[in-house]
């Protein structure tokens, strides 16, 4: 399992905008580069990132070869109610990772 870092507040007031920052370890291999043996290194990308807030999709992004290794994605959402934010990254070679973070809304 890849390492992921999610930085966000644990608590927020109702109606407050919370900033969420995510970082995940991934090579983001483009598929255009040659390795030491001269052969093309097979493409290995994260293709899609999404964030669900208590099941509702609040943010998603598609990723392409121009994105550097270890993608950093940051976005904001509105704190509506206490719940779980589910972050998922999906990509080539069956790559799939999910992280859950609880947000308490007061």
């Amino acid at each position: 399992m890849a390492r992921a870092l999610i930085t966000m507040p644990k608590t927020a007031k109702r109606g407050e905008i919370v900033e969420i920052r995510t970082l995940i370890a991934h090579p983001m291999e483009t598929g255009y580069r040659a390795g030491d043996d001269g052969q093309l290194v097979p493409r290995d990308l994260i293709r899609r990132f999404s964030c669900r807030y208590d099941g509702e999709l609040v943010f998603s992004a598609e990723l392409f070869p121009a994105v550097a290794a270890n993608p950093y994605i940051t976005f904001c959402t509105l704190a509506t109610a206490s719940g779980t934010l589910q972050f998922s990254w999906e990509g080539d070679r069956g790559f799939s990772q999910t992280e859950n973070v609880v947000l308490t809304v007061t």
């Binding site: 920052r21 995940i24 983001m28 550097a68 290794a69 950093y72």
Partner: protein, 251 residues
């Protein structure tokens, strides 16, 4: 008493102003500096996180974790990275922080040695070195290190490779200038292991040195070679008093 204090303050500020040494951080663009300033953005923190987990993970036939002997890293490892490379009595040569960690892995955990530059070793090294963040580099005053450090300085000033360049010619005489599109820094080892954008990953000071050596088209020393450690010893003395930034980001 007050006058004495004032005089001391003036001396101290003059001392700071006359120090022309600059960390590589100051040669970077504001955008790259921003990545290093913010741990939530700094990709090196992924390795640090891994190192923190490895610190508590039991390994080897001794089934022992780092934490079992050393305790919590923020207290026990604070300042350790400022003192490396240090003299190792067992092998009678200077060793780097990474080599010290590896010696512990083999001798105390009875586990297989970690491969130099492996992700596992870099993770532990960055985690340990980060505990010294903000502390000044303080090479040990060990007389046994002196001959190694002298050889390191000699190597630093020796022209090598097809380009016939020494480290000093770029990093002492032309620091701040440009090598093609890149700014030449002063080569102070303040933030290793570093996340280098060019590498798209974390790497040690030895990897950086090897990159420079092959850059002037000389045959690089292999990982763990005593020559690289000697160079590191000289660089550490050259950077004495500069603050550790680990895990740093470099272009």
């Amino acid at each position: 008493m007050r006058r004495w204090w004032l005089a001391l303050c003036v001396v101290a500020s003059v001392g700071a102003a006359s120090d022309t040494r600059r960390s590589g951080f100051e040669f970077m663009t504001p955008e790259t500096q921003a990545i290093q300033r913010d741990d939530a953005q700094n990709p090196a923190m992924l390795w640090v996180q891994e190192g923190a987990a490895a610190w508590e993970r039991k390994a080897g036939t001794a089934a022992r974790a780092c934490i079992d002997c050393h305790g919590a890293a923020p207290t026990s490892m604070k300042g350790v990275a400022t003192r490396y490379p240090a003299f190792d009595a067992a092998t009678r040569r200077p060793i780097t922080l990474g080599q010290r960690i590896n010696a512990c892995v083999v001798d105390r955990q009875h586990a297989a040695a970690l491969v130099p530059e492996s992700q596992e070793l870099l993770a532990l090294e960055s985690f340990v070195a980060m505990q010294s963040r903000g502390l000044p580099i303080a090479p040990p005053e060990d007389p046994r290190l002196a001959p190694f450090r002298e050889r390191g300085e000699k190597l630093y000033r020796q022209r090598v490779g097809q380009l016939d360049l020494s480290c000093a010619q770029c990093h002492d005489e032309r620091a701040g200038g440009r090598l093609a599109g890149a700014t030449i820094p002063q080569a102070h080892p303040t933030g290793y292991p570093i996340y280098r954008l060019e590498w798209q990953g974390l790497g040690s000071l030895q990897r950086r040195l090897r990159g420079c050596i092959s850059g002037v088209r000389a045959e690089p020393f292999s990982y763990g070679a005593v020559e690289l450690t000697e160079l590191e010893l000289y660089l550490a003395r050259r950077a004495t008093g500069m603050k550790i930034e680990t895990p740093a980001v470099r272009p």
